[in-house]
Symmetry: C2
């Protein structure tokens, strides 16, 4: 067993990542299967390490929500292990030919997917995230540097130890332990190709401000559901409710509901009744307030409410005069994550899709569908609100780059220049 | 005619970009045709503005290379105008469905290309670059902020004036005039989506250090040609020479030639004779020096030579013991731009392609083919050595992002959760 000795030997990590990339997909998928088996054989050790983390967290007076995320019980572990096997079964994301073009006789260009190289992933105190991230890294043949939440330290170390025991030391994998290690990583331009920080906007900004390595930000979400004048009212209430309550702590949960004035009288009382069933507090603008009245579960919205990511059972509610006003509201207050329109009007849907500048734009379904698993990506490292590279749920594809490969037979550019230049054929070939 | 009044009204620019994106591709292509016609009608005004720039540059004692780039004569202008028409004729890059998946009955997901939004482009003193960049921006339906080289100020202003006269003020286009304007743009996070700085590495780094807007860096190039032991010697000499001399000031020109020791005795004298024909100065390592002797046109290489982008008729030459040494040399000294192998050995080619981590990796053809036009992209805004988003020559595709569009019929995530969860179908549909 090699291990990766110095946890800060980034150059050795890159060499190991290159070796990983030169294996076949079959071998990498076999590694994932072995890893899944090893987790199953070692449930006892994992549970014990997690119990220690839980005990320490309780002793530190950590809140219930975080404890819930930290806890890796047998059900969660079984789900994570099933996830490893799902990732193993996905199509290989590297070596895919995206374009193939005949430039001239005997001169063929291909654009082919390759691993990015070495990815630094900073994530929160959910040890099952580590399992998912390592699976995606192995499948996409990237080296991976992990920094998990401090609270999950013992669980993460045990998971990594089991992976190392199973995969010949797993030298393509590095677990950082301290903030100093993270700062060292942020300085490793040239050795680390991409940083993916999960966490608050402030944290993502800190990372961006302290590195020249590209950062793929996985942002918080201020998502909206807009109920159009032509919406099916029952459908609107059902979908808006699900968007808010199905898992309010998620970044794709709705924080704002906008309702067209023509249907507000009908929608709002039904929506209020539906949200009441889950104990949702409504921050209502003046016009919604006028319809709903000054009743339990409704408070007047302040301007800040429309910029707030509650991540809890609270929602901002506003009556708008038009589709245009809804689109303008989302442009001004949203976070370009996920926004939905509820409408039967095809023209309204088309305008909403074209004009709302968000990673995910939905019609007649819950914002909570914005998720790598639900999208059929197999798994995700997070949701990107950046417009570059990967946007929306980021699965294996987002962990690849491309190379242009050109095979010739002695061609020079001089032959294609000047008065008697050869002309290019530029014919797209079948993929 | 509207114009865009305040040259720093970035919000008005975004509104205009959105309007541009809502037009059809036919209309945008018609705009390009009108623009090409207008340039042809106004050749006199353009030439006069360019003459003034040239006179001012000469008075300032500007060097010949820059004067050459600055000069927009009738031939260059005709080429640029033809380029506008070529861009107009390309397939529309937005609205393309990249993925389409049935998540469940009545729940269809699409990944569709959209314009990025507003792009800030900082480019050098070549006024024909402005014409190409504006063409690409209009075709891809992006708003564009331009800052050209100071020396081309009058020519650029005239080109923009003609575009504004032709395209109802072209409010999706903004020409910045001062460095203060550039600094203002770098602060406009949220209003500007992407900055593309062309120029030196130091300049690109300055831009990255002074903005939170994503930057797509178009880097300098230290490109290598490796002559393998199994190379066709004549082909190797021809391709290596073209890679160096066809346009030495380009970023895709070769700066280093690596030769396998088994063929060095045969290759080096022929290579020297070929390069002599163009007056190339060879910086030879010790082993090449021993073969070539201490003759005219050959000087001993210093370590720095292998890290130098000459951009002129100079080249570094090194004898290597193996393919592995060549790959390692390129990893250590190259700039991940364009590298070529000359070989008849399919296994050597495959290893070079898989292990050389560059945007463009070629076999048996010149590094100078790394270019958007030669690749069949129609045109390019530059060559990216970043691994994220666009890599290699960046054409229209690199100016697009994607949205995930999901159309449902009232689905909630609650239905797909828990013990009696519906299962997703996740069937890829034809594009």
């Amino acid at each position: 067993m090699e291990g990766n000795g110095d946890t800060r030997d980034f150059k050795a990590l890159r060499r190991a990542a290159t070796k990983l990339s030169l294996l076949t997909d079959d071998i990498r998928s076999r590694m994932l299967a072995d890893m899944a088996d090893a987790f199953e054989r070692n449930i006892g050790r994992i549970r014990q390490a997690n119990d220690e983390d839980m005990a320490a967290a309780k002793a530190d007076g950590i809140g219930d929500a975080l404890l819930h995320r930290l806890r890796l019980d047998e059900a969660k572990l079984a789900g994570a292990i099933e996830g490893v096997r799902t990732v193993a079964s996905l199509a290989c994301p590297v070596g895919r030919v995206r374009e193939r073009r005949l430039l001239d006789e005997g001169l063929v260009l291909e654009k082919v997917t390759y691993p990015i190289g070495v990815i630094g992933m900073i994530f929160e105190a959910r040890p099952d995230a580590l399992i998912q991230i390592v699976s995606l890294a192995i499948k996409s043949a990237n080296g991976i540097i992990l920094k998990g939440g401090r609270e999950a330290m013992r669980t993460n170390a045990m998971l990594v130890r089991i992976i190392q025991e199973t995969l010949d030391g797993a030298p393509f994998l590095m677990l950082l332990e301290s903030h100093d290690d993270v700062d060292a990583m942020l300085r490793m331009e040239g050795d680390v190709d991409l940083i993916i920080p999960r966490g608050s906007n402030a944290f993502v900004r800190y990372v961006m401000d302290h590195t020249h390595i590209p950062v793929m930000g996985h942002a918080d979400g201020i998502c909206s559901v807009y109920v159009d004048r032509s919406a099916d009212i029952g459908l609107a209430v059902k979908v808006a409710t699900d968007s808010k309550v199905q898992y309010p702590a998620a970044c794709n949960a709705a924080e704002t509901i906008l309702v067209h004035c023509d249907v507000a009288q009908r929608v709002l009382p039904l929506l209020k009744a539906s949200l009441d069933g889950y104990g949702v507090l409504i921050h209502a603008d003046e016009r919604s307030m006028a319809i709903l009245g000054d009743v339990d579960g409704v408070v007047p919205a302040l301007e800040d409410d429309f910029h707030t990511e509650y991540l809890s059972l609270e929602v901002a509610l506003k009556v708008v005069d038009s589709l245009d006003e809804a689109i303008a509201h989302i442009a001004c207050h949203g976070s370009h994550h996920t926004d939905a329109i509820i409408t039967k009007d095809e023209e309204a849907r088309r305008r909403f899709f074209d004009e709302v500048d968000s990673a995910d734009v939905f019609c007649n379904c819950s914002t909570r569908f914005a998720d790598g698993f639900r999208f059929g990506l197999g798994a995700e490292v997070g949701i990107s609100t950046s417009k570059l590279h990967a946007r929306g749920p980021v699965g294996l594809d987002g962990l690849t780059t491309t190379k242009w490969l050109l095979i010739g037979s002695g061609q020079t550019v001089a032959e294609y220049s000047g008065p008697s230049a050869r002309r290019f054929i530029h014919e797209d070939l079948p993929l």
